[in-house]
Subunit: 163 residues, 2 copies
Amino acid sequence: MHNTPCTILGIDPGYDRVGYCVASVLSSQFSVLNYGTIQTDKKQDLSVRYQQIVTELTALIKEFKPTQLAIETVLFSVNKKTAMRVAEAKGIITGVCLSQGLQIYEYNPREIKLSVTGNGNADKQAVAKMLNLELKLNSNKELDDALDAIATAYTHFLNLRIK
Amino acid sequence: MHNTPCTILGIDPGYDRVGYCVASVLSSQFSVLNYGTIQTDKKQDLSVRYQQIVTELTALIKEFKPTQLAIETVLFSVNKKTAMRVAEAKGIITGVCLSQGLQIYEYNPREIKLSVTGNGNADKQAVAKMLNLELKLNSNKELDDALDAIATAYTHFLNLRIK
């Protein structure tokens, strides 16, 4: 039941916006160190947007030195083009993290909702409420964009505890 | 019509196998320096296979120092799961290359066939025949697996010449 100290990078993948969360695990306590969104410019070429994601992600890894990536699974959407692009963006993030030596863990939306709220069909509000309650995120920053990333990192923490 | 000297990394993306080609462009001559396949083990977890791709790709980049990546577009296939995985693998390769400072260029299969053979609907045999003729690839190595990667790198070279 006792966690080895580590730093987790939680990611909600995308090419339009990437939600991220950095959290430390110390004495089996999960503490959010930083969270936010990498927002790319719709007017730019995809390669420029990808470069921005790589640059900002690399800066985050350099600053916080996470050793584990917890990333949300991309489910297939009705729009094939969007699904393929989000899968590619997830790959880009995974590639950067593997290059930097992080271990990769993946959780699907149902697992995340179940871990955080106890209900695999919980809505966004229920997830937000539970995370605020559990993690006491007293921040002025908008939680919304990074919510899934925080939930993914927290799911990874809970999953490590069970083992 | 004169190319700036550069080294191109051509990639046919996949998670099962990644075809690659390294080619130099000097005095408007395209010369293949190396080609082959990164073959991952079906029995391993996807994360282990991804790690192998990242490690072998990074070694190639360190050895040959390419500055441009020419990568083939992933078309949507009937099997959603496969299509999403190949898109993710393409992302991983792109992420590693962006991390290493390469510029990214993408070509779809039709563009590649058209550039190499003059026919956008050419079959694999026609592409192989034309590449052997143009590039004089007198090698004992099996061309087959790396054929698309060589064709993609060559397409990028031809595309640069037109500009």
